[in-house]
Amino acid sequence: MKGFPKWYMRRRSVALRLLKRNKPPRHGPDLDLSAYEVALPEGARLTDLSELPGEALSTVQNVGVRPDERYRSGTYLQYDGDVVYLALSSRAEPGLVVENLLEAVRKREWLRRFWFRACPITLDKFTAFVGAYETAGAFIWCRAGTRVEEPVQACLYMGKKGTVQVPHNIIILEPGSSLHVITGCAIAPSCVRSAHVACTEIYVGRGAELTWTMIHAWRPDTHVRPRTGAIVEEGGRLMLNYVLLSPVASIQFYPTVILLGRGASVGFRNLILGLGRSIIDAGSAAILNAEGARSEIMSRALVKDEADVRLRGRLWARKPSVRGHLECRALLLGEQAKAYAYPSLQADTREAELTHEAAIGRIAEEELFYLMSRGLTQDEAVALMSKGFLDTDIPGLPPSLRAEIKEIVSATVEHAL
């Protein structure tokens, strides 16, 4: 570990000590991390995304990564434990920085103020694991007033079987800046018995706007434990869009956003396809900690086969004049499929307006018959309703990106049914 500052090495040893306590996660099944080898950097570099092996190339395209880098301000590609490609487009605004976090930390002393602040390292064994074993990660930094037009794409690809990928990402938007990030997580078909344990910290400054769209396609034997925390300052806006497209062994996440400044807002859109024997525990939490803060959480899950999907949502009003709405809906498509919704609202102040709606159901026979009366077969009718169920508008996205995501979701649903 050459070239790392002392503060960083100290934090790593703290993380190691925390890891020994083996603090289990609050939700979802536990995971024995000792069963995996940490995927380490091996020094490989690409000069172009098209140099990816054909199989990887088509896989990452399915999660929204554009190998031609068109309509993208920057590209970050992590292959197992290493950043193998990093580039900014010639059109990218000068205030935009995209680096490997483990490089950034060696030259930017100030990053220590952001280290495990939005996402506490003490949260559970997975945050401690990232703190102790992180090998790379995306550092995306938008300087004050920089409004980045085209999205930055970050891709995390896993190719080596039996390993755990351990990225730590930090996204910082300084006051008045704006950015879209699209992250695609994908895995090689041959990458059996692997895991992905990640930590992402997001800092949205005064009046800044970030939309972060994450599209995931794992293997049926992959275990995934991402940890995400965000802090939004006065008037800042954060939009988190999460899309899960493929079967997975187990996944559990519960991103928590603290709205720290007046009028700060956060929106969550979780679109989940529960397939095969997936165990999915998907949460979203907003802490409304300043006057005028706003939050909207929306989760939709299409649950098929023997999948088990739990949707959690939490809105916590700590200051007056805040407003939040929480919606969890699941559509069951199989006899063995299971879905649960756990909405939670808490208000510590009188002038908070918090609402929620949760619904779990199956496709109504009458609706199916109605669509069939218009000439659709039963399968076509189910597919149309399923696509419609997941077709929630994702606000704040540039139209081209919105169309790309819509296309990915629609093609996957059609394929999955």
Binding site: E365, M372, R374, G375, L376, L384, M385, L390, D391
Partner: protein
Amino acid sequence: MRGALLRIEDLHVEVFGHQVLNGIWLNLGPGETHIIMGPNASGKTTLAMAILGHPAYKVVKGRLLFNGMDITHLSTTERVKLGIGVAFQNPPAIRGVKLGDLLAACVRLRRSDGDLGPACDLLREVGLDPRRFLNRDINVGFSGGEKRRAEIAQVLAMRPKLMILDEPDSGVDIDSLKLIGSAIRKATRELGCATLVITHYRHIVPYIRPTLVHVLYGGRIVASGRPSELLDKLEELGYSRFAELAMKEGWQA
């Protein structure tokens, strides 16, 4: 009878264990428009659903012939492909499914290119602005009149051989009634299709100008005839008295 597009022979239908239709006989030829009138719970919607092949509406006796072919045991999808289009009385509201998606499905039944242009013209014809309605979730937040109009536009887009309209006039104002009535008449003329209109009231009759009116009561057709022969009597007597006399005196046309 030769030349009938739809022939219903002694149809008995059960819904959730209750017998609702008790022997319906009907012949409907291409280009003809028939009206089925009857009070609530007389079996009007059951007749429409049985013709379309709804699985909950079980034919326990009798048969349905379409163009001479026995369709009693065909699936709904097959019947729709043969050219049966039904406008529902209470169409469900489905989130995420757009009116445009359904119109596209309707259009694809007859045109492989799926061109929505003509379907948009149909929407305009029934008074729905395609720019506003194509992208709306089907029937979600639609008013009664908008639902009826959207139903009719879909059925017209299917270019059916047999068009069944289940209470296209319920809950609509007089302007909508005129618009809907004349759209039905025009389509029947242009498509040359057979049309069956189900209704409670006579108000829509002048706009449609039907060939025949049938009065359905207690799961049977108790009288059939030209509108001029039946409607005034029906209005005067009311359904139950009318049915009583019709059965006693045998008013079958």
